[in-house]
């Protein structure tokens, strides 16, 4: 025991230690500056926060780590506590497949996800995405003012309806997914959402899965239920593991991306006007907003074996944070002027959807939702103005960036559709 501790201490003296905590208020104030400082210290550095972890902030280091599932595992393990390994600190939530597994175990689930979310399937969802976005804007357009933080509602209702879960619950999903990210850890609101509301919603999902097992339909849950894992039928619990990941993967990220782009465009009217005049630029602009804002800032892995990695000695069991957002601002990623928004940037090999075998399975849907929201807001509220002085960001920006309040005003307009939300 003593010997082992001695060895560990010795190895740790090699470690380039920095003072850093991605969950701290200090970091949340200016994540971009915080990662710029880390990159100047080295592409891979060590912090003692949360029991200690490596921070990968250089493009190449993040890329190499994310491409090597054996060396940088996303599976659950005893290292660093109980719970989901892609988070530091770990969170003891429902298992999520495929993200909580490494290849080859992850692959059967990933293949089902891939089939569910191909460009052609997502294209079939376009009318629904456009309708809900229009309904949502209808809901606010007559008043001339709105809180764009409630944009979470759009990906919520789309995801819930697509999955054929009870649509009337969308406000609960929207609220819960925002509060999980914005309420202070340990606050009564946070405890209520994580210990009561989300588990209650999970129970409902379980009921729907059981019901679809009995009466399969033409919906994603029935589609997943129709598959086998290693020659046996997929279990209802495994379906839940996948559905819960779909719900939690797409709602906050899309709202964050759209909200940050809207805030930035309000402050940059020249670019906004260019997008209004040339809607064809929107697709490329969304790629640039993904790079620039990186809605999912950083996710973690566990080191699988002792090795030399980008100039440091990592050890089996070490935790490591892969900062996609930092890679996206690193000139080594081939980005000229990485701290500037260039809506025509090309090529743009950003890491906002991750890299490697777990690279976002929902990217086509995420892009469609974000593009639709931005396009419709620019069409219907072309003069909207964000009240920048009263914007409130999430108190933690280490994993997900986004807004608790994003107040805006605009010239009131007319409803488009007869129905209402």
């Amino acid at each position: 025991m003593t010997e082992q501790t001695a060895v560990e201490t010795e190895a740790r003296t090699d470690r380039p230690v920095v003072d850093f905590d991605h969950n701290a208020e200090e970091h949340a104030k200016d994540p971009v500056a915080s990662y710029r400082r880390l990159r100047s210290e080295g592409p891979v550095v060590w912090t003692e926060s949360w029991g200690g972890y490596w921070v990968l902030s250089g493009y190449d280091a993040i890329f190499d780590a994310a491409r090597d599932d054996e060396m940088f595992s996303s599976a659950r393990s005893p290292h660093g506590g109980e719970g989901q390994a892609i988070l530091i600190p770990k969170r003891p939530i429902t298992e999520h497949f495929p993200i909580d597994l490494d290849p080859p175990a992850s692959m059967p689930y990933r293949r089902i996800m891939n089939q569910l979310l191909t460009p052609s399937r997502v294209e079939e969802m376009r009318p629904m995405v456009e309708k809900y976005t229009a309904l949502f804007i209808d809901d606010i357009i007559e008043s001339g003012e709105a809180d764009f933080a409630t944009l979470t509602g759009i990906p919520s209702i789309i995801t819930i309806d697509w999955l054929s879960l009870p649509v009337e619950d969308w406000r609960r999903y929207s609220f819960a997914h925002r509060k999980v990210l914005s309420a202070p850890l340990g606050s009564p609101e946070y405890i209520k959402v994580t210990e009561e509301e989300l588990p209650a919603l999970t129970e409902k999902v379980k009921e729907v899965i059981a019901e679809r097992r009995r009466n399969p339909g033409d919906d994603p849950i029935s589609f997943i239920l129709g598959h086998e894992i290693g020659g046996r039928p997929i279990t209802e619990e495994e379906v839940l593991n996948m559905v819960d990941l779909i719900i939690s993967g797409g709602v906050g990220t899309v709202a964050s991306l759209s909200g940050q782009a809207l805030e930035w465009l309000s402050a940059h009217p020249d670019v906004r006007q260019r997008l209004i005049d040339n809607p064809d630029l929107m697709q490329n602009a969304v790629e640039e907003f993904l790079r620039f804002f990186s809605p999912t800032q950083a996710l973690a892995r566990t080191v699988g074996q002792d090795a030399d990695f980008h100039g440091v000695k990592v050890r089996k069991g070490d935790r490591a944070l892969l900062a996609w957002s930092s890679g996206n601002r690193d000139a080594a990623g081939g980005f000229d002027n990485p701290d500037e928004v260039d809506i025509e940037r090309m090529p743009n090999r950003h890491m906002a959807f991750g890299v490697g075998s777990h690279r976002c399975a929902g990217s086509h849907l995420g892009r469609l939702m974000a593009r639709t929201i931005l396009t419709q807001v620019l069409e219907r509220m072309p003069d909207y103005k964000v009240d920048h002085a009263n914007v409130v960001r999430y108190p933690r920006q280490g994993v997900n960036t986004g807004f608790d309040r994003l107040p805006a005003t605009f010239t009131p307009g007319k409803r488009l559709l007869g129905e209402r939300l």
Binding site: Q115, T118, F353, G356
Partner: protein, 106 residues
């Protein structure tokens, strides 16, 4: 050394040299060719490295795995008989292959 000729949907031609063991995707990305996005870095997780291979080059390439076949059902531009994912096309020796890149990868 392997060589690849890439023709874009608009007809722009780039002839690029690679090293033994490089994939058609890696050679493109290293040279900043815009027609191949390769979001996932070669893990068969994104289908954004789609290419159309010149017919006579199809048989010099490694055969397609089941997963590549499935991922080809998820490309933005519809797959054709000569579609491949370029991250899976590792080149050895002095081959020269010709590929076309689709109009859009995302």
């Amino acid at each position: 050394m392997p060589k690849v000729t890439y023709t874009s949907a608009a007809g722009d031609v780039s002839v690029l040299d690679g090293n033994a063991g490089d994939s058609v995707m890696e050679i493109a990305v290293r040279n900043g060719l815009p027609g191949i996005v390769a979001d996932c870095g070669g893990s068969l997780a994104c289908s954004t490295c789609h290419v159309f291979v010149r017919e006579e080059d199809l048989e010099v390439l490694e055969p397609m795995s089941d997963l590549e076949d499935e991922m080809l059902d998820g490309t933005t531009e519809e797959r054709r008989y000569n579609s491949r994912l370029s991250c899976q096309l590792k080149l050895e020796g002095d081959v020269h292959v010709y590929v076309e890149t689709p109009e859009s990868q995302v």
